[in-house]
Structure formats: C-alpha cells, structure tokens
Symmetry: C2
Amino acid sequence: MAAVSAASMAALNTSFAGKKIAAAKKVSARVTTRALKPVRAAVAAPADVSTETVNDCVNTIRFLAIDAINKSNSGHPGLPMGCAPMGYVIYREAMTHNPKDHTWFNRDRFVLSAGHGCMLQYSLMHLTGYPSVSNDDLKNFRQWDSVTPGHPENFITNGIEVTTGPLGMGICNAVGLAAAEKHLAARFNKPDCTVVDHYTYAIMGDGCNMEGMSGEGASLAAHWELGKLIAFYDDNHISIDGHTDISFTEDVCKRYEAYGWHVQHVEDGNTDLDAIRKAIDAAKKDPRPSLIKVTTLIGYGSPNKSNSHDVHGAPLGADETKATRENLDWKYGEFEVPEAVQSYMDCSTKGAEAQAAWEKTYAEYKKKYPEDHAELDSIITGKLPEGWADALPSFTPEDAGVATRIHSQTMLNALGSAIPGFVGGSADLAPSNMTLMKQFGDFQKDTAAERNIRYGVREHGMGAIANAIALHSPGFKSYCATFFIFSDYMRSAMRIAALSGAPTLFVMTHDSIGVGEDGPTHQPIEHLASFRAMPGMLMMRPADGNETAGAYKIGVEQTDRPTTFALSRQVVPNLPGTSKEGVAMGAYVVQGPAAGEDCDCVLIGTGTELELACKAGAELGDKARVVSMPCWELFEEQSDEYKESIFPKDCKAIVSIEAGSTFGWSKYAHKSIGRDDFGASAPAGILYKEFGITTEAMVAAAKSLM
Amino acid sequence: MAAVSAASMAALNTSFAGKKIAAAKKVSARVTTRALKPVRAAVAAPADVSTETVNDCVNTIRFLAIDAINKSNSGHPGLPMGCAPMGYVIYREAMTHNPKDHTWFNRDRFVLSAGHGCMLQYSLMHLTGYPSVSNDDLKNFRQWDSVTPGHPENFITNGIEVTTGPLGMGICNAVGLAAAEKHLAARFNKPDCTVVDHYTYAIMGDGCNMEGMSGEGASLAAHWELGKLIAFYDDNHISIDGHTDISFTEDVCKRYEAYGWHVQHVEDGNTDLDAIRKAIDAAKKDPRPSLIKVTTLIGYGSPNKSNSHDVHGAPLGADETKATRENLDWKYGEFEVPEAVQSYMDCSTKGAEAQAAWEKTYAEYKKKYPEDHAELDSIITGKLPEGWADALPSFTPEDAGVATRIHSQTMLNALGSAIPGFVGGSADLAPSNMTLMKQFGDFQKDTAAERNIRYGVREHGMGAIANAIALHSPGFKSYCATFFIFSDYMRSAMRIAALSGAPTLFVMTHDSIGVGEDGPTHQPIEHLASFRAMPGMLMMRPADGNETAGAYKIGVEQTDRPTTFALSRQVVPNLPGTSKEGVAMGAYVVQGPAAGEDCDCVLIGTGTELELACKAGAELGDKARVVSMPCWELFEEQSDEYKESIFPKDCKAIVSIEAGSTFGWSKYAHKSIGRDDFGASAPAGILYKEFGITTEAMVAAAKSLM
C-alpha cells in the first residue's frame, strides 16, 4: 500500500511559504479500549493512486472554491481552503455514496454544519460526480436561479441532505440523521440481513461549538450512543471577530468527553491525511459518537490572508489568488480540474456498486421478511399504508369534551399504529404535552427500535433533530413537542423546517392565556401571529376533536412543509358544526348561514375560542354566521369564490375572537377581540374575563358594526 | 461556635421516615489551590442560634411553600422542599441584602433560574423581611392581581431581580449581573475605597443545565472569570418526564470544569448545612465562577411523593401534607411562622447596617473621586448626563449615503462617550454589525473596565446577559447585536426583555433580502411582523441617518421596555424629509401633502424602502403623501387626530412597501408590497427586482386604487 504519510504530504507542500502553521495544541488522541463493534471497510490510504494526485485533489477542492468565490465576488473561502484535506478524505475515501442516485436510502450522510463553507461541499460534489453540481454551476455560485446558493440548501441542490448556515443547527441535524439510522437499524436489521447501515459525517466550526444548541444535540448523541456519528471540528482559532481567544477559551474536547463522546485530535489538518484516516477508523471502532478535532489553518495556502478573519468571509481577490497559486505551486487555470483528479475523484462507479449490492440484499430481505420489508419500504419510499387516515376518529357533541392536547394524544397514538415511520417525543413535557405513544417504549441506546423520543429540556436541539429525522427518509413522520411559548427557544429550527421543506410536526400545547397560573412567562400571545407570518409553515389551531383529527390528517399528508399545532391546556366541548373536511379549507362555516348564503355578521373563532364565537352567534340570531378558522394558510390557498362565500366583501360586521394578539386579523375582521399585552398569573377563567375575551365582548363588537 | 454539623442536622431529622435519601454520588469536592482573592466575611454556622431554630427555619420555608401551593391548588412544591436548606443558607447567612431597600445598589443579587420553584424565593423573602411579600401575599399565591405570581417577576415583586421561568435564562441573567458587577468594580473601585462589591447567587436545576443557552452563559462566565458568581445546581435527578436517566446522563460537573469553572459537590443537600456553608466559602476564595452541585431529594419530607415527578408541579394535597407534617414533626399551623424563626430570619437590621456602611463609603468616594462618582452615580440612579442626546448627529441629503448599520455605529460611538453606562457588543459579528465603540477596549477578565463586550456566537445567552446588565442598575444602557435573522435564536430573551421591562437595545443588522448572496437562511422575512406582534417591544426600522439617530434617542430614553433596531446591510441615501422628531411619532410625512392636508394617496415606506416610496410619490405627483413609518408601536400611542391626519379614513389608496412579509400591513394599507415567501441567494438588487419590490410596483398599486 502506498501510504500517504504525514511526512510525504508535508514534502509535497514544501513550496508552501506562507504563514506559519498554527501551533497545534498538545492534546493527544483519546482512543478508548471499549468493546468494538463490527464496522465496514476501514479508510485506508488508497493503493491505486499517487500521492501527487491525492495532493492535486486537495488543491483542486481549494481552487474551485477560490475561483467560484472570486467570480461571484461573495462567499467564504477560508473554510474550504482549510478543510479541503478532511473534505477529500470524507467524500472520496470514507463515505459510501452514489453520486448518480442521491436518494439511495443506505448512503452515508454528510452535513456541513459550518454552512458558510458550502463551496467545500459543492467542490466535493462536483468532483465526486454529482450531476447536480456541474462546473458551470460552480461558476454560477450565489447567483439568481443557480443550484449553488450561498449556503447548502437541500431543496435546491440534489445531494445536500439538510439546509445549514445558522450555526449549531447542522450538527444537531447530523445527530437526527444518526438517530434515524440507529432506530431503523435496531428495528429492521436481522442477524442474516443488514439493510440499514450508514454513517453520518459532519463538519462543524468554532461557531457551531459556541452555540448552545450544539451542546443540546451533543448531549443527546452521547446519551443515545450514536456510534455511527462522526463529527469533525474544524479548529482554526478564527471567527468573525478575530481570534477565538477573545470569546472562546473553554476546553471543547473535555466538554465533549463530559457529554460522553469519543474524542480525538488531529494536530495537523492541513497536510496529515493519514492522521485523518486513522481518526475515522478509530471513530468507527468506538461505540460512542466521535468528535475529531482537526486543527487547521483557515485559508490554508494564502500567503497573506490565511490564519486571519480576512479570509473567512470575503473573496481572496485577484492578487492574493495569484500569490496562493504560486504558493501552492498550482499550475491549472480557473475552474480547471486536472484530468487525473477528475478521474480519481469520481465515486460513481464504486457508489453504483455499493448501491447494487445493497439492492440485492434488500431484495433478499423482502423475500425473507415481507412484513418488516413492508414497514421499512413505507419509510424508505414515503408511501403511507392505505387507509392510514381512517385511524383518526370522529367526534360528536355527545362525546366528552377534553383539551385539544388530549385529542392530540389520541391522534398521535392512532397514527403511531397506522404509520410505520411515525416517531417523536417531547422536550421533557410528555405528561403535559400528552405526546407518549402508549404502545411503544422509549428510544434509548439499548432500545433504539422504540419510537418515543425523550428529548430532555432541549427545544432548539429537538427541533433540528426532528427536522433531520423527517428528512432522513420520506416515510418518517417526525413530531416534537413543547409548550407553545417555548417555540421561542426553537424558532430557528422551525423556520429551517419551513424553508427546507421538512414536514416536521410541531406539537405545541398550552397555547394561550388558558395556561392560567403559570403566568406570562408561560402564556403565548404573539405566537400564532408570528407563525402565520412565517412563510412555508402551516399554523393549525384546532377547536375540538374533529378539528384536531383534521389538522393531523393534513399535517401527515404534507411532504414538503411543516405543521405547527397549537393545542389547549383547558377542556373544550366537541362542537356540532366542526369537521375534518372543514379544516382542510382553512376556514369554514360551523353555525348560521352556510357559505354563500346571506348573513348580517360573521363571527370568526379559532381553537378554544370557537366555542365563544358559537355562543355569540346563538345570541345574535339566525343571520349570524360563525366561522372556524383553524389555518390561515390553507384558507389563503382556496379560490377567490370560496373566500368570498365565507367572508363576503359587503358584510361590514366581521369580528374575530382569539386568545392571543389581534395582530394580522385586520386582514379578515373589522373588529378583533384578543389580548395585545402580556398575560398574567391567575386561574384561566379569571384571565379570560379580566382581559375581555368573552362572548359578551363579541356580541357587543358585532352589534356595534351592524 | 455552635457548629451545625451534618450529624446534628441529621439527628434533628430522625423523625424522617419517608423514602430513602437518593444515593449521593461519590464525586468529591473539587477545590483548587489557585491564588486567593480577598473576600468578605465567610459564611459560618451562626453562633447566636440553636440548631433547632435553624432546622425550624428550613422547615418553615418548606411548609410556607406547601401551604401556599395547596391553597392556590397550583404550583411546584418539589423544589422549595428540596432546596430549603440551600435557600436558607443563601438568604439568611450568605447574602448581604437589605430587605427594606431592595434597590440598594451594592446588594448581593439572587436569581432563581429554576423559576417554577418561586415559592422558595417568596418564602425566603417573606421570612427575611421584604415588605413586598407579606403572609397575606403568600396566601394569594398565583391569584389575580397578587404580587406572588406563578414565576418570579421583577416587574411585579420588589426584591426579585429578573424574570425567570423559561429554563436556562436565569443562569445567563446571573452571568450578566456578575459581569456588570465585575465591570463596575474594575472601573470604579480604588485602592482606598471599594464601592462596588457584591456576589451573585443562583439556583438552577437539571432543566437549566439541559438547555443549551446555559452552556453559552457558563462558557462566557469562565472566559470572563466571574469569580463572584456562585451557582447552585439542584441535582435532584427528577424532571417532568421522570428520572433524568431517560435523557440526561452527561457529567455536568466535568462539563463546567471544561468551561473553566470551579466545581464542588455537596452530597447531602437535604440536611448538611455545614457542607453548603463550606462550599460557599471555598467558592468565594476561588477566582473562577463556582458551580456547587447540591444533591437533594425533590419534595424532601413528603413520605409518598418525594423523589418523584408527582411532587414537581402539583400541590401535595391535604393527605400528603398531613403525612409530611408528621414526617418532619412539624407542629405549626398553615402559614404559621414560629416566633423564633420570624425573629431570627429577619435580615432587616443587618441589611440596614450593611447599607449604611456602604453609604458612608460612597459619601467618602464622592469627596475623593468626584468625577468617577458622577459617572458611577449616573449608572446607579439612571440619571443620564444633561444633553446626552446632543451627541446624536443630524444629516442632510448632501451627506454621503451609507447603510443604516453604519449610521448605527456612529450613534453607538457617540452614545458610548456621552453615557457612562453605555456598554455592549455583538455575537461574533462586530465587523458586520458595526458595533465596536472605537474609544474603548474589550471587556475581558483582565480588562473588565472596558465596555465592548465580545459575546461569541451565543445569541440566546447574549440576550439574557444583556437584559441582566440592563436590570443590574438603571443607568446601564446595554446593547447587543447580531444579524436580524438570528433574532430567531434569542427570541425568548427578547420577549423576556419586553415582559420584564429591561430596556435592552437589540441591534439587528442585515434586516431583509438586502442581505443578498448569503441567501434565505440569512434573510429575514417575517421578523418585523413577529416583533411588531410582540407586546412591550419597540420595533424600529429607520430609513437613514436622521431616523437612526432618532431611533437611538428613543431607545435610550426607555426605562422599562426594550427596543429592536432593524438596520440595513445596503447603502441608503439621506432623504430630505426625515427627522429625529418624526421617528418619535412612529409614522410621519416626509414628502407630499403634510399631515391633515388633502391627498389622493398615501405611500408608506420603512427603512431601506422609504427611498422607493419617495420615488413612487414623485412619480404620482403633488397629491401623493409619502409616510415614513419606522415604529408602529409609537404610532399607535399617538392621538386619534394625529393618526387620522396621517392615514385619512376617506383615502382609499394607501399602499405600503417593505422588504419583508406583508403580514399585518392590512391594518394601515389597502395594498402592500413586500415578500411573503422566503428570499434567495443572489445579489440584493436582483432580488428586489425579481420579487417585485420596486417603485414601479408601488406606483401601479396606488394607481389601481385611485
């Protein structure tokens, strides 16, 4: 074997005359001697290639990034230049993936948590053979309508797993992908047939490690013992404000050890490819998730800008690019890929072989284990079992009224039995959010086939993990839960779900001042408005059992957008006019003149306040139409005719009632009853009365307009 | 000295016949031998009281909590029962505070980060002599209009420092309070005169430590070497979902050591008061922030509910209360405070003496150091120097156009020189947010008198720390900064600022699709709407230099509400009609028919789009009024007459333009131009054109309505 030793790699770089390599800290590799698990092929220095070609591969990655960022005059060259060696080892040597089929289920996953360095990933994808990233696409980096946007976006570029950029999010996504793999492997693999078996790789930077959310994900990764998660920490000591010394002096490795990770340190990430290979091998042998700290020089190769903030987020520019070419002895032109590099980097053949082998195994699995296959295939393909929605019950006014969080529990339990990929849990509020699926146990390191996830008090990490589970395979229906107020802790993850098309189900209970005594820190006010304003999010506020069933039906049907359910702490009756079908229209008539019929006022209610609107309608008489409006977004998707039939333009007395901010309601209503200041600590009934969220107020408002 | 030994305390509890004390882990105290700093009086077992009285104090705390929660039929008895011993030592023995003057500047601060346990704090405040919490107030726990709400709220209860409940927030607040103390001590203390010298105590639970934000605060606390921060970790192994084993198995102590904290473990927090005392003493001697893990039994004393989730968040109820009374041999009635406890717990006399001694020192300081005194006094009293607002410049259209983030930098630098308590920084985006005050250095452990804070990539922690600095002393003007999109990471801290009346200044740059190439993960869309919907928040979007100056003037003037500034990445011209005074009205006329004059259309613009509105107005002619609307909240506070003069009811052609969601604009405008879907990665100018946010679109919209 022609081992590419550190020494030989260093020799290849003797022309490097730039700044001194950042002094590598004297942290020796921490390799445990715990019990080994079987692992796939070790990452070895390749036998079929010259060290020169390998070095050219690494420098091609660097220069494609430099050239693309120069051409777009925008971007972050520092990370791709520093991380090119680890990127090369991961994508070319370590990962099992088929660039020609980015949807292959059993592919290794990769997440660039430091998403600003996306030119690293685009270069790697281009070189390893992804048709989604052509050389022309690299030239269109960050341009209108290109497939190479400024941060990795799974909904734009085939082969990108998740959308990153907001720091700390990607590593939590990686935790979610690895958790999904562990779950499926524990649930479906058989002693004679392994059909689920992939690694999840991630690269994160100092910024990711400063973000608290990465700690949430890391703590769970160790708790769940996600041994096939291998995270690289690009330790380059530079962040936007300058040297990390000014704000980040903790011992990151020790912190990950405290979580329970296997931690290693590659001291020279700029040239020592063998050390990176060996670290991956050791990571695969250890049952814990692995952190590989790789000390690199940001902007490696740039004689005047490396190791400084200047190379983080701005193009090198013509002069420095020239100097860098000379410095790294790079003889090729802009966007040029040397032939040997092109042919050696392409992973299409070995990827196709790997996929073909897996498909053979999967066909055997289908024969031997048809029932398991059917479940797994639903998860792999996203095809839900026929009639799954029949599991959702209907209700009549005679059924006992309960809180919509209790109805939600009924739906979660029904869907858990009906849909193989239905998994989820709460951020330590399972008994309050009512999110346990009673037929299943807890997903834990030794019971990973189970489907109730215990996220702990980690909302932000939970959201990102839940999104990644949803994106791991199209048949996963991934839910996560907390109090609606704590959506504030996970808003960024919820937004990324909406942006990236993750059909995550966000179960948000205790959705108003109805929370009562816990007081204003626990009472949502502006939250409904804030999610209605968020693009791509279905914001559902069901009023009773039928509407909760209808809301879940719609949430599960979504393949490319998330749904947020606002659910009550307090009891609500099952109302006569509600229906699952009505929910699908976004807003519909539940009492009084039907859609299109003559009415002299329209009373709109959502969730727990629909009951108040119905009572107001009864007081106002036969010409008062009561509309339930569980989802603004779905209503906006209806025809103009339907909208007019619900809210006629010539009706001058449209009143809304909702226990939350009235912000935004002026779009539909002439007067709105709600709460535009914070809540308070007192029994819920008193709060409704004191804040004037009452039937009487609604009747008075309607009368004042008629 | 009548030492209260662990043995004697245990003896006093021999009647405890309930569940076995949770096995204390064998983690021995980690006391370093680093250089000592002078500290104030050590916490000693008191000489003037019997161990029986001390034990009664602890049990009084427990039973006041039990009784209040039973009476309100709502609340969290588990924490107060388990933490009563540490609470007693902190409030009665360790803290220097004057219950009769909760505003005394040099008081020790206390933060209950596990805010749901607020009955612990109310009991302690009542017993130590705070007039704000009477026995009747305890009986009104969690009732309408009471001063004892369901979580600690500084705006309701005198003597509460910050508002907690959302977990992890309080410990970050404590970091902020300790940072404020360290800053002021470094800046104002003299070798012969110490006027700033207090500790900050906090109690946090497992939930706080699971939240990633607590890690952000903890990392900074160690980086800044906040040696006078003493945080207790109530290690009771129970969270809402059950035993912490199901989701929280990391080594918390080791993690804090990795941050750089001094870490100790009190193995028996239920009875070993001496161990708590000794830990505080050791904490004071160590220069690092201190974590004291105290292993307790949640619901200590309850024979059937302790050490279980049942006692976390629900009243004990009559039967279990009776059993607990018997178990702890408690002979007193409901809400009864034994006389010996009442007299011994009261800290009024020693508090008044401490304050008087400080006031004497402060008077000497005034004589010896009049200039320093003037600055410090401004911070203590909140009285800003006369004419401070004159520091804010004015602009004319002849002044070069720059991005409003650049104008913001001008204002921050001017205010830094004009206002002694002006401090702040960015979450590792200082060169992009433009937030450095050039005349000052960095607040670091060895340069703590400086005023630029380097928060690192830790938005949520930053927000909570900045809030606490603002609440430490009324003259602090505390700003913090990031990209507007990352308000999603710190939304909960911003909401708590709004709820709790912290006048924090949130500097949010890169406020729209104007971000350009970084793409949709970095482009705010719904953010303006989401903060306009949030109660108590001033959401400012200035259009140019004058408006940025006006916005900062208003932000600094606020004493009980925060301000968020949305600032542009891209260049804007200084427009002819803008003014600081106009900003104060929320919306005002900048072009065309003046307020109250006849107009045939009204064109509203905010921020970077005001220029487009002005151009549209010029095209539409003399009767087109152009209104700048930098702040909805201020406009809503104007008289009905003023509002009508700006947006006349009979004008049927009101059009808004804003590079963000149109959500909410229907309140003012008949048509709204904006972006209701996500942004994209491309140069900003192209995005504006592709998304139709143009002068032409505004002209067409106005014409369609006229």
